[in-house]
Amino acid sequence: MSNYKSKELVSKLGPLFGLILLIIIVSILNPSFLSIANIFNVLRQVSISAIIAFGMTFVILTGGIDLSVGSTLALTGAIAASLLSSGMDPFLTMGIALIIGLILGTINGVIITKGKVAPFIATLATMTIYRGLTLVYTDGRPISDLGDHYSFQLFGKGYFLGFPVPVVTMVIAFIVLYFILQKTTFGRRVYAVGGNEEAAKLSGINADRVKIAVYAITGLLASLAALILTSRLNSAQPTAGESYELDAIAAVVLGGTSLNGGKGWIFGTLIGALIIGVLNNGMNLIGVSSFWQQVVKGIVILIAVLMDRKKTA
């Protein structure tokens, strides 16, 4: 984890080369890609999916998976929007939304560890449940009229030292999570539980607690993403976040983290999320028709993963 031999480093940086290659191709096809405004664009677009993918990295490192992130986003976004529109203080609202995200994630973790249910099926069930609750809560309608809270609007639309606030939020989240994963005992435990749960338990690690924590973190990050999204759109959609889990998982895997757990790093996830973001933005800039966009996206993901496999093989 904390140390890499140079060979390993090169293999870890594979996704970065993939990203650079993609950027070069897109820039040649449409030079306006490289304008500052568009780079901010891409980063702003990526921030939401990257924050979700950061959480997913923790979960996948323990050998789990979380399909419920999109529904968690929708539910916490709807709750935040309704609180705001009822006139609650934006900071209090944000705090409550984050805590609810944490609780929804914790529920996932408890079902998985205490109920001994496979993460895929547990979060498939909660994905449906949280989405249903969102629809019940919003009565299937978007919640707008969030009131005129400058501080909340800043969160999705503002700039800080010249950088878009969502991008700053993403970078701060990245730094904090990178530090947790690489430099703290908790991070070490996450890798250990994913690497060999049995051995981790026999070394005095409370594996259940570690797992519950990673799902809780993922729920928290999904609700952070919900706040950014709600602020950007000035409204919460009951259908928000659908199939976000797939993009997040793709970003994690593109970044070189193994779906078996125990191996990977969060920097790769950032790169993976950027690859997907640049791809979406680039295809729009180049004007690839939307039907073909899906084909191209699938093929690029495949190529990226295949290149990574070849290198390590």
Binding site: I48, A240, V288, Q293
Partner: protein, 286 residues
């Protein structure tokens, strides 16, 4: 310049001398024949007018739409047409376009924020009312009626349902209202189940034609005679109406909407004044 099978922006040769405008069109979804037709109406008209059009698909995701509009701004288009995924969520995207000095026209759904040059639409709520009134006419007061709802939480499902209920509320007996996710297969199975629970159903309103056609299969298999009204007037549905199997379908004339959108856009870019609201007539195909 690049020629590739999947580039739809290939510039038309406009030897006519008309300055070639570049128009961006952010569409809510292309996973639905209605919007596919709408986008094609726009595309065909743009070609005729010698304008270049770039279409991006939000896949029914409001946040993807915000990103798509930003990408269009980056492309440096002269005009942005937006078919909002959701009226309340599209405001910030319209505002970004305003900030970049690019005029915006909303199509089919309106925006609750930002400045638009014009709004071109036929109203979903009005369409629902139209369907409801006709259903009332055919089935009569007090009839047992079922509704097939679209994808829970989507604006089309909301508005069409709202209009329909407005027209029939208190006048018919709505025995069942369940979602079939705008999907023909689910329309079939949900209708089967509805008929099981309420064999006495006399009329069905489906919030789109796909579900209506699915329901029709279930009804035909059951041998019952039930009035079916759909929405969208897709080719399949119109054919069924002509065969007399479906009672009616609400035509929003997507092709017309797309065409009107481009006409308005080009007129505006040519410096002409345009109407703030360009209504495209709804029509009941029966």
């Amino acid at each position: 310049s690049m020629e590739s099978p999947f580039l739809e922006n290939a510039k038309e040769d406009t030897a006519g001398g008309n300055a070639s405008f570049k128009i961006g069109f952010s569409i809510s979804t292309l996973n639905n024949p209605f919007f596919v037709t709408l986008s094609e109406g726009a595309k065909a008209n743009a070609q005729e007018k010698g304008a270049e059009i770039s279409i991006v698909d939000a896949q029914d995701d409001a946040s993807k739409q915000a990103s798509d509009v930003e990408d269009l701004i980056q492309q440096g288009v002269d005009m942005i047409l937006i078919n909002p995924v959701d009226s309340s969520a599209v405001g910030s995207a319209v505002e970004s376009a305003n900030a970049a000095g690019i005029p915006v026209i909303t199509v089919d759904r309106s925006t609750e924020g930002g400045e638009v040059v014009s709004h071109i639409a036929s109203d979903n709520v009005a369409g629902g009312v139209l369907a409801g009134e006709y259903l009332l006419e055919l089935a009569g007061e007090g009839a047992k009626v079922a509704m097939l709802e679209g994808t829970a939480g989507s604006s089309a499902a909301r508005d069409r349902g709202e209009g329909f209920l407005k027209a029939v509320d208190g006048k018919v007996d709505l025995v069942s209202s369940l979602t079939a996710n705008f999907d023909r297969g689910e329309g079939l199975t949900v209708m089967e189940n509805m008929l099981q629970a309420n064999p006495e159903i006399q009329a069905v309103f489906a919030q789109n034609d796909e579900m209506a056609l699915g329901a029709l299969e279930a009804i035909e298999a059951s041998g019952k005679d039930i009035t079916v009204i759909g929405f969208d007037a897709t080719d399949d549905a119109v054919a069924k109406v002509e065969e007399g199997k479906m009672a009616a379908t609400v035509a929003q004339k997507p092709e017309e909407i797309g065409k009107a959108a481009i006409e308005t856009a080009v007129a505006y870019l040519n410096g002409e004044t345009v109407e703030e609201f360009v209504p495209v007539d709804l029509e009941l195909v029966k």
